[in-house]
């Protein structure tokens, strides 16, 4: 038996006394690992500007987080890697050639305004990286929609271009005026739209991390395998985009899924725990809403891309969805 004076040292706590050994930092690290394939593909296609953008965003996000916590007199939370993740996600959602000072402003907005003002991780109503991207799109519209061509250093005379989305947008318009023919579509395809293969590997203009569908799918598979996310949001999101485009006309459905922010949005942005519903049923509604809004904006909105806004709008609806989809207790009537 232990002598009396050391008895005080037994740990006293409420049950359970066992833990699954999961942690917030491990979850964040898993998402970062899942983003590595698309990060490498982005760097492969867009070169050093991509590297700089990523480094600057991550460094600024982490610094902002530390400074905010210090200013608020709260514990330092950079160890949970959520700021690293926000920085990486923001960078992957920016065009490679963006002026670095704009990336800094965006990163400060993401952490300072979108996250810490609300009290930090777990309290923010909107996805920090996405709200920063939306803020930048409105503030710096030109640079935010100027896209480097993949391997731009090989064609020094014309390094920027339109994204396939912008081209695809005109098809909706063409169909609306009823002048589009299969022949016409084919012509447009020849001019501005890359092959499905190039879309799948990411050999298309776009944000650093959104271009390579295969790399994103690989990351998604990793997240599902590690049980970091469930299938509900990505599958309903992508399926809604696909089915909508099947019936709405315009670009082929596969193209709608593979271009722009749909893949990265469905797998990495819409699945953000804090800003998405907590129940399975809620996640299905959320994924459907994201897909529908995204396509409505693509077809009728002023922007060629609607993915970020769609997710942000659904973020706002999230508390309502949670309220509608409360689970029914075992044994309740």
């Amino acid at each position: 038996m232990k002598p009396k004076d050391t008895q005080e040292h037994f740990v006293l706590s409420s049950s359970p006394h066992a833990h699954a050994d999961s942690s917030v930092s491990r979850l964040m690290l898993d998402v970062i690992i899942a983003l590595l394939p698309t990060t490498f593909m982005g760097i492969f296609f867009f070169g050093m500007p991509a590297v700089w953008t990523i480094l600057v965003c991550v460094a600024t996000c982490v610094t902002t987080e530390a400074l905010c916590r210090l200013a608020m007199g709260r514990n330092n939370t950079i160890g949970d890697f959520s700021a690293v993740l926000t920085g990486l996600l923001l960078a992957l959602n920016l065009p490679a050639g963006i002026p670095l000072w704009m990336a800094i402003v965006g990163s400060v907005f993401a952490i300072g305004i979108s996250k810490q003002v609300f009290g930090g991780l777990g309290m923010n109503p909107f996805n920090p990286a996405l709200s920063a991207r939306a803020f930048m799109l409105i503030s710096f519209t030109g640079p935010m929609t100027t896209w480097l061509k993949p391997f731009w250093w090989r064609t020094p005379d014309a390094i920027t271009t339109a994204t396939p989305l912008a081209t695809m947008k005109t098809w909706f318009a063409a169909e609306a005026t009823a002048s589009a023919t299969p022949h016409g579509l084919c012509n447009s395809a020849c001019c501005g739209v890359p092959s499905l293969w190039n879309m799948a590997i990411g050999n298309i203009p776009g944000c650093i991390g959104e271009v390579s569908a295969i790399a994103l799918a690989l990351g998604g598979a990793y997240l599902l395998w590690r049980k970091v996310i469930t299938w509900h949001i990505p599958v309903t999101f992508l399926a809604t985009v696909f089915v909508y485009s099947l019936f709405a006309g315009g670009a082929p459905a596969m193209m709608q899924v593979l271009t722009g922010g749909v893949m990265i949005g469905a797998i990495f942005m819409a699945t953000d725990y804090v800003t998405s519903p907590i129940t399975a049923k809620g996640k299905l509604i959320f994924g459907f809403g994201c897909g529908l809004l995204c396509m409505l904006i693509r077809q009728f909105g002023g922007y060629p891309e609607g993915c970020s806004f769609a997710i942000l709008i659904m973020n706002a609806v999230c508390p309502l969805i949670n309220r509608w989809t409360q689970p029914k207790p075992f044994g309740a009537k």
Partner: protein, 480 residues
């Protein structure tokens, strides 16, 4: 009699490390009566027993020392001969203070020497209660025996067994379910009882069947205990009537009454205050069933039980048959002491057990386990904000929204917690177990439940007082 696999998996549940290999293959060992016993008057659910002895009294093994005090209460008997050294408030296994009789068992000889009657030292010890033949005894006699033997549920909650075996008027027991799931990590006491006392369990089942009016019997055992399943199959091979062994999937908390009922007979117990009997079921722990057969056939009240002493800080983990009231320190000494200094001591298992501050605690009828964990097995957390990941929702076997309850209770918002059905929570700990933010969700639920219960009690008292006043007023008016 046949063995079937359960087809009904409940929603949720988790897979903690079972760590049962530590004590699984240790046969039950009997502990010699320790020098001092701490016998609590509150070994069960409900009102504590009323103490019948005073300091200085000599008591005999099996003598009634605590009287049942109310409908939901159980009597307490001395688990050894000895002298009452003190009667004082002592820390119980669940952390609360309760009156306990401190028995000095070494004072036995002295007792006989001082006694006015001439002692008969060589007289063989007879049974404490007259043995009953269950086949000829009436239902009422059997029930009375369960009550006077001081039997309560030995799985953990300690519900008075005679109450459980007397369904209220209008309700009938259709299924008697034997709980042999033992889903708590580390614990192997029920497992050893199933292996070593299978014939006693069989007899207990026959007695209970008689009391309950021949319900169908389901013996529920988790699939990870094939030897126990085999032992039960052998013991029940020639039993008549509707008896099945149901092999349950390995999933925590499979031993929870409601989930066991669902897994075996696919019935769902409604939300509290509904009880299993409302869906025609009575669930009893296998140890309790064996205790019933001892009480009836041998006249032996519930005075001792098997407790698993385990954990990585114990020299030799063991399953010990010890008198109720044995101090934890004596159990640990019987296991060869501590291998390494423990950082945490737990009464019960790691999922629902209670961390205690000392080994100076006596066991009770519900002490299924005592764990000594080294620092490496003790997780130290600093709780973070909820990140809404939904793991607790997916883990909750009651299909609640633990995240919402924990967030509400962080702001002391009991109303929101109540609206989120917190009273349905069974405190199994599955939510906290998987929480990546290390939130003490189960603790928040307990706090909410305690505060709701306190409020309901206050409301009841107020209503009673008002009614009383009304009555007095009416009587006053009549008198005038």
């Amino acid at each position: 009699m046949k063995t079937v696999k359960s087809q009904f998996k409940f929603k949720g549940g988790v897979h903690p490390d079972y760590n049962k290999e530590l004590a699984r293959n240790q046969p039950i060992e009997k502990l010699a009566t320790p020098a001092e016993l701490v016998i609590s008057m509150s070994q069960h659910l409900g009102a504590p027993a009323k103490c019948l002895v005073k300091v200085g009294d000599f008591v005999k093994r099996g003598q009634l020392i605590g009287e049942k005090n109310g409908f939901i209460s159980v009597c307490v008997r001395a688990s050894a001969d000895g002298k009452v050294k003190a009667i004082e408030k002592r820390l119980g296994p669940a952390g609360g203070m309760a009156d306990a009789v401190i028995l000095d068992t070494t004072a036995k000889e002295e007792a006989l020497a001082e006694g006015t009657e001439t002692p008969t030292p060589s007289a063989p010890k007879g049974p404490i209660l007259p043995p009953l033949d269950w086949k000829t005894a009436t239902k009422e006699e059997l029930l009375k025996r369960v009550e006077e033997a001081g039997i309560c549920g030995m799985g953990g909650a300690g519900f008075p067994t005679n109450v459980k075996l007397s369904p209220p008027p209008g309700k009938r027991c259709e299924y008697l379910i034997l709980n042999g799931a033992e889903c708590e990590p580390y614990l192997t006491a029920d497992y050893r009882v199933m292996l070593e006392r299978a014939p006693r369990i069989r007899l207990g089942v026959e007695i209970m069947r008689k009391i309950l009016g021949m319900p169908a019997v389901r013996i529920a055992i988790e699939a990870n205990k094939p030897e126990a399943i085999k032992a039960m199959e052998e013991a029940f091979a020639d039993i008549e009537g509707n008896v099945e062994i149901v092999v349950l999937p390995v999933l925590y908390p499979q031993g929870s009454e409601k989930h066991q009922i669902y897994a075996t007979v696919k019935r769902i117990v409604p939300e509290p205050p509904a009880l299993p009997i409302d869906v025609g079921c009575v669930v009893e722990n296998v140890g309790t069933v064996a205790a019933i057969s001892d009480a009836v056939e041998l006249g032996e009240p519930l005075l001792e039980r098997v407790t698993t002493v385990s954990g990585d800080a114990v020299a030799t983990p063991k399953n010990i048959l010890a008198p109720c009231g044995t101090k934890y320190s004596d159990l640990v000494a019987f296991c060869g002491g501590e291998k390494i200094p423990p950082a945490k001591i737990i009464s019960g298992g790691t999922m629902m057990g209670f961390a205690v501050s000392t080994l100076d605690i006596g066991t009770t009828k519900t002490t299924s386990g005592l764990l000594l964990l080294s620092p490496s097995r003790v997780f130290q957390y600093s709780s973070q904000a909820c990140i809404n990941c939904g793991r607790c929702l997916r883990a909750c076997p009651m299909n609640l929204n633990p995240a919402e309850i924990s967030k509400a209770m962080e702001a002391d918002d009991v109303k929101t917690a109540e609206d989120a059905h917190v009273m349905t929570c069974i405190e199994c700990g599955a939510c906290s177990f998987g929480c990546p933010a290390y939130r003490t969700i189960t603790q928040f639920c307990r706090r909410a439940k305690a505060s709701i219960r306190a409020r309901m009690a206050a409301e009841r008292a107020a209503a009673q007082a008002a009614a009383e006043k009304e009555k007095q007023k009416a009587e006053g008016a009549k008198a005038n």
